[in-house]
């Protein structure tokens, strides 16, 4: 929300109907007298991660919506107690998925902005924001993945790698560039002009910083001659797709996730996979690609096209997919016990159906890998571009590019 939107929201926020659909253990809609709900309306019992962990109605979309009304309309004091209740939300968006009427996540986002405005931002996100403000990336990184540095600075197809693929999970960046190249798409990269997308600033409540990076990135992308901006990160995708237009207006170019590009190429017959991968995998929908971005089918279509690969769904998938616990790093950094428990639930769910999980977000990859290790699980975790590269016979290495600073958490 930009400043004007936030002011309007504060004026309008109110208590909801208190129906508890956003977190309750039970169906959102039970039946229609003759049939049970179809899968898209068959919400799982355990849908709200923070309710599952804390077990209190306060830690739900419903409870936080009430707190927002208390703060914005009744002057209820903001203290650390309230900050903890509100901030221990992973932003997974399941509450707003169930309840588009009140969209509880909007209330949570508005409260976070309020905390920042009052100088009450959690220290961990303050540090990340400082990194972005000073170094334009989350990790104070100076050396990008070399494959990105070698790309042209201008081009119709611009790859927005994001901080993870550029500085920490270089394999994702290399794989994305190489698979697109093999498919006949030469991407450009903005180099130092690619600033952090501002996801952490946006969802952490630092509106001024997130707006600053939005303006910069859009301006830089326009200057680079972009006609189509491609991301491999779910958070970058969601921010470009929904937040930036709220700041600068309609973007003069298309924003797509790499899975959408690949699925489109497969549909056109312009891409095929000739290396068999004899594995059984499951797909984890990143919250910011699925619920926030509306991209569910494309990654699955890509995986389905890989010869030998068997894909099995987890119990919770698609619009009802469960969060990995990362919260786009915010939860992982500020409420690590909660993040660990949520990640463990997801790891166990994945290993119940497959030996490996594929996702389409470097933050989810990092969280699931870390959790699997902590849980002593043999579950393997892959980012989608890496799996596709293997299916195309492209060697990118599974090395995770070492970061220059551990801010934001380390990987392996």
């Amino acid at each position: 929300m930009n400043g004007r939107q936030l002011d309007e929201f504060k004026r309008q926020v109110d208590i909801c109907l208190v129906c508890a659909a956003c977190f309750a253990h039970g169906p959102v809609t039970p039946h229609n007298w003759t049939e049970l709900p179809p899968p898209e309306w068959d919400a799982p019992n355990d849908r709200c991660p923070s309710y599952e962990y804390y077990g209190l109605r306060s830690h739900t979309g419903m409870g936080r919506q009430m707190l927002a009304a208390s703060v914005f309309r009744e002057g209820y004091p903001v203290d650390q107690d309230l900050i903890d209740v509100v901030s221990s939300c992973t932003n997974c968006g399941v509450c707003s998925e169930v309840c588009p009427m009140w969209r509880p996540l909007d209330a949570i986002a508005a409260l976070r902005q309020e905390f920042v405005q009052r100088g009450l931002q959690p220290r961990a996100t303050q540090k990340l924001d400082a990194n972005v403000a000073e170094c334009h990336n989350l990790f104070r990184g100076r050396t990008r993945e070399p494959v990105l540095e070698a790309l042209p600075r201008r081009g119709a197809d611009l790859y927005f790698a994001g901080c993870e693929a550029a500085f920490r999970q270089g394999a994702t960046g290399r794989a994305t560039v190489e698979i697109l190249r093999a498919a006949g798409i030469e991407v450009a990269h903005m180099g130092g002009d690619e600033w952090c997308c501002g996801f952490v600033a946006d969802w952490g409540g630092n509106a001024s910083l997130s707006e600053e990076v939005a303006r910069h990135n859009v301006q830089a992308a326009v200057a680079a001659g972009t006609e189509r901006l491609i991301t491999s990160c779910a958070e970058c995708y969601a921010v470009w797709k929904t937040h930036y237009p709220s700041v600068v207006g309609e973007l003069p170019f298309e924003v797509v996730h790499v899975s959408e590009v690949l699925a489109g190429l497969l549909d056109e017959g312009a891409l095929s996979f000739d290396h068999e991968i004899a594995r059984t995998v499951t797909y984890h929908d990143p919250c910011f690609l699925g619920r926030h971005g509306g991209v569910y089918d494309e990654p699955r279509r890509v995986l389905a096209a890989i010869p030998g690969l068997k894909v099995r769904e987890m119990r919770r998938y698609g619009r009802w997919s469960y969060c990995c616990g990362s919260g786009g790093k915010l939860t992982q950094l500020t409420y690590p016990d909660f993040a660990d428990a949520t990640g463990a639930a997801r790891v166990h769910e994945a290993e119940a159906v497959a030996g490996a999980v594929v996702t389409a977000c470097p933050a989810c990859v990092m969280q699931l890998r870390r959790t699997a290790k902590k849980q002593r699980s043999a579950l393997e975790v892959f980012d989608l571009p890496l799996m596709v590269a293997e299916a195309m016979g492209i060697e990118v290495g599974s090395r995770i590019t070492p970061g220059e600073d551990s801010a934001g958490g380390s990987d392996e």
Binding site: V18, P27, T34, R64, L67, A69
Partner: protein, 496 residues
Amino acid sequence: MATGGTVQVDVAELGAKLESIVGPGRVSTSRAVCRAYSYSAFWGRTWLTVPDLVVVAATAEEVSQVLRVANEAGVPATPKGPVGQGGFGGPMKGGILLDLTPMDEITVDRKNMKVIAGAGGSFFRLAQELFKHRLMLPTSEYGPGPTVASSAIFPVNAFGKTRYGRNIDLVEGFEVVLPDGQIVRVGSMAYADSDFGPYYRYITGPDLVGLFTQSNGAFGIVTKVAYSCLRLPKCWAFHAYYWPLAQAETFAAVMTEATAMEIFDIHISDRWRFVGLEKAGLIPPLPNDCNFVAYLTVNAESPAELAAKEDVIHEMCRSRGGTYLPGAADHFYAEWPTVFAVVSQPMLVKLFNLTREASGATGMMICDSLNYPTSWFPQVYDKLMKTARKYGLWGEPNMIVYDGFPMKSLTICSQTWLFIDFYDRDWMRRVEAYRAEFREWFGARGGTHQSGVPPYPEYSWGNQPGAHDLLRRIKGLLDPNDILSPGTFEKRDWSR
């Protein structure tokens, strides 16, 4: 810290004691947590009831121990579900708020068509489990939350009330924790551990189940509810008819007749429920003379039986001046999500957003929730209309809506509701004035309030003084320290 305004206790010390019963993380003294539990929907700020502690209990034994501690300390304890939509609940005098959400087990006895459900379960989940066994209970829309016990200790209506009555009319037994911590089973639950199982509500002597229904937990904390189920019919049909404003008498006569014929469900409303949808182009234009709309739901075991029942209702409505409203009824049931999922229903979401934009409303408010004989519908509606018009709430832009539920008892429970900004003083002043004026008229005729315990507004007390005096005496005997849901049977000033 003061609890209940009368008792001084060390909340931290009490919390530690309670945590030793229910386990770590299951007790919260956080101000923010307590605040988040304190709202009841619709009634706005006047219905804010703030606990001093929230305790999440998972078994009847835990509830029992919590109540023993509460008795020792003289601290109030009140159960609360999410109360969804028109309900009200919460600790009127502070103290412990009991969240029973983990108590959500469901045991279906298909052979005997009985079910026992934990207090904190979702009524929607209960309905879905029964559906899988081809059984049903009247199922309330709007209730995905942990509402099994809530729907028994509060007056709840549901689809099916026209033939079967309220949910509580199908309750056969309770497991209850009394104020002193004793766990008792009444009604059919008294037999729960016998060879016959929970088969019959009326044990020897007076009906003890009724003591706890609509009690707000003041006589005991309900931890399990036993129901007698209904067979789920195979065939269903939904139809809507409308009548002009001038035909209120005829409309009431049709409802009376349809109720006596045991039609599964009738839901009535007036045109203002649909005007927003019509203006948004979400439904076809309403006929100019359409004022009262009846949704009629019929069911049967075979298509032939269903067709015969449909013929009967078509004949009944048409012969009494009703005009068919195509597409209005089946739409809400046939498409997913159904009308049960009110906050997800795309049409209702659009309506809410449009209303928010058009009028500045931010929330939804039930102005009144009433019970009266079906035959009194014309006078009640006329009075509601005239009073709302006087205070500028009738018609656009505020569009107060009448929604009614003809019930087996040949009474109607109805609400008037509108989208509103609870924090707009002028708006609230007008609504309060409308309510006060209408209530004076309604209460003087013996009207009762149907939604929420305690029976706000106070005319409910005035109409039933002997009955309420008896309730207070029973309360005194069962709960001498007045720790369970205190305030339930007291007159209370809600005007703060």
